[in-house]
């Protein structure tokens, strides 16, 4: 095997000599374990051969070769296209704990040149992401606030939650629909059930459905995802049961239309103009369809209550709906409507998260101001970056 390598070198040398010119090797080649991963990967990096930049000798590309010993039997792993300022290839087929050596070959038209072997490099798996300590602190701190207040509420502490206008109106809207003998339309957004806004919307649907069942109105829930439809059916059935009206539950009223964004909107618009609901709820994740729905809903004279955490769609709901739950209010809604102490406790926990955020903003701004005069509090720039930049 050693001889094969020698032959290779010789060929390279001979071809180069025959043309009276050489192809310079790639520069700064290095191999190292891929940082923070599940193991099995080694990063090989290098800078272009000086010849690539000078345009005199043509560089076609690079090759990465691997062996277990520096002078061992090298096997080609990959071709890498030329034309970059720096190169990075990840060998994803390394065994954990095994030492590897790498070579980078510059491929020219008539010749090629190898770097000296680089290594050894070993792939290892990591158990903690060192740059994410800040996220861990934030997650733990926030969770602790929320869980603490949930336990407080559970222990019987009475918690105050301010009025949220959009949610006060839910009852009024359902009542109006009942009086007019018209249905209530609930649109749970166009995202699937893995989106937390959809989950929030479906839990609100549970509260709305209980009211609808108590008032003996009817409820229409067209869905754009099968999983959402299935979940909504479970939730509404449960709500009717809770209200003591299981007989009034109509499974077919919670239907699936299509996964397609605008196909779904076309269908919901059709339902609106034909069934003429008196109350429309748009809660969950919305994209461009927000205004199409809200304008059509307005044209049939329905009371409209919307809620989303999509900043891009909030302006349209604000403009076209009677009430709009903005961002965090959407997530507060199910707790607010249920009035269940444990859920309300989580809202108080969120508020403490806000207090911490406000304090850190104010402290950060003060240090940013002082830093202009060279006053560095705790080596400000570094400390702050470590706190807030997640890699």
């Amino acid at each position: 095997m050693k001889s094969a390598y020698a032959v290779l070198l010789l060929t390279v040398a001979l071809t180069a000599a025959a043309h009276g010119q050489t192809l310079r090797t790639a520069e700064n080649a290095a191999a190292a374990d891929k940082a923070v991963d599940a193991g099995g990967s080694i990063d090989v990096t290098w800078a272009p051969s000086p010849d690539e930049l000078e345009a005199e000798v043509k560089v076609l590309g690079y090759e990465v070769w691997r062996a277990r010993r520096p002078a061992g039997d090298y096997k080609k792993l990959a071709d890498v296209e030329a034309g970059k300022e720096s190169y990075n290839f990840t060998d994803e087929e390394a065994e954990n704990g095994v030492e590897y050596f790498y070579k980078v070959r510059v491929r020219g038209e008539e010749m090629s040149t190898d770097t000296a072997p680089v290594g050894p490099a070993k792939a290892t798996r990591e158990w903690f992401h060192p740059n994410r300590l800040n996220m861990l602190i934030a997650a733990v701190l926030l969770s602790a606030f929320i869980l603490y207040y949930i336990s407080q509420a559970r222990a019987g502490k009475v918690l105050f939650i301010r009025r949220i206008a959009g949610l006060e109106a839910v009852q009024e809207a359902v009542g109006r629909a009942t009086e007019m003998g018209k249905p209530v339309l609930f649109v749970p957004g166009i995202a699937d059930i893995d989106d937390i806004q959809t989950i929030a919307a479906v839990t609100i649907l549970g509260r709305v459905a209980t009211m609808v069942a108590e008032y003996d109105a009817s409820l229409l829930v067209p869905c754009s995802r099968s999983l959402v439809m299935s979940t909504a059916q479970e939730v509404v059935k449960e709500a009717y049961l809770e209200a003591g009206r299981p007989d009034a539950y109509r499974r077919e009223n919670i239907s699936y239309l299509t996964d397609d964004q605008f196909g779904y909107v076309a269908g919901v618009d059709g339902i609106m103009v034909r069934e003429k609901p008196a109350a429309n709820f748009y809660l969950g994740t919305f994209y461009a369809e927000s205004l199409i729905l809200a304008e059509t809903g307005h044209s049939i004279g329905a009371i409209q209550i919307a809620g989303t955490a999509m900043p891009s769609q909030l302006p349209f709901f604000i403009a076209a709906c009677d009430y709009t739950l903005i961002g965090e209010e959407l997530f507060a809604a199910s707790a607010y409507l249920s009035r269940e102490p444990r859920l309300l406790g989580s809202l108080v926990g969120q508020d403490w998260g806000k207090v911490v955020i406000l304090i850190s903003i104010i402290l950060g701004v003060v240090t940013a101001f002082l830093a202009q005069f060279g006053v560095e509090i705790f080596g400000r720039s570094i400390a702050l970056e470590q706190l807030f930049v997640v890699k």
Binding site: M135, A138, A139, L142, F160, I161, R162, I193, D194, D195, I196, T198, I199, S226, L227, S230, T231, Q233, E234, L257, T258, D259, D260, G263, Y264, A266, G267, D269, G270, V273, R274, P311, L314, P315, I318, A319, I326, G327, E328, E329, L347, V348, Q350, D351, K354, I357, L358, I361, I362, G364, V365, A368, F369, A371, Q372, F373, L384, F388, V389, V390
Partner: protein, 238 residues
Amino acid sequence: MDGLTLFGTWIAAFLTLCILSFLYKDNPFYKFAEYLFIGVSAGFWIAYNFHNLLVPNLIDPLFGADGAFPKLVREGQLDIRLLTVIAGLLGITMLFRFFPKVAWVSRYGIAFSVGLGAGLMFIVYLQANCIYQIWGTVQLSPIVITESATGWHFDWGASVANTLLIIGVVSALVYFYFSKEHKGLLGGTARLGIWFLMVSFGAAFGYTVMARISLLIGRMEFLIDDWIKETLIALGLL
């Protein structure tokens, strides 16, 4: 334009007009397009999901030429990909919804999806929307002073901009405070926060108008250029 394309263009133009007719009021043409649209698009996503979700994530790893089952039969080798069977089982629990009596079995599939989503969003929102947005704010100084050869300068453009931005973020965040009555200082700050939110909503609305008009321009150019003009050309009238 060849015959088939022109034929397709006529269909497309007809459907475009059907949808536009909804602006006047609900009518049989819109109803036709609506039902067709729902049917065709539902079918589109079924076929799309089959090829892009089911084949690469379930069928290929298990039953493909190099899949886990053929390997098991051929070489008697257990492959990690056999775990994909669990995915298949979770998927099949969804089919229990066809039978109301055992529909509850689908809760496994639903619970898995909800749990996965909750976990993912927990991290994504905390990182990208919380910590990163705070980072963007704490780098700002409300009073910007620059140093140059001639001494210190007060950059009042940047100072006003930064100050407004910081006040905006803080006051709007206060608006979301739930566990205290919005009265006094808290109420005043929250009120200011709503004003900031309103300006931002108005701005975002105004900013989007251009993109929306562009969509209509696109449809109108389709009707004028691709449909009417091309038809006239095909008829030899242009």
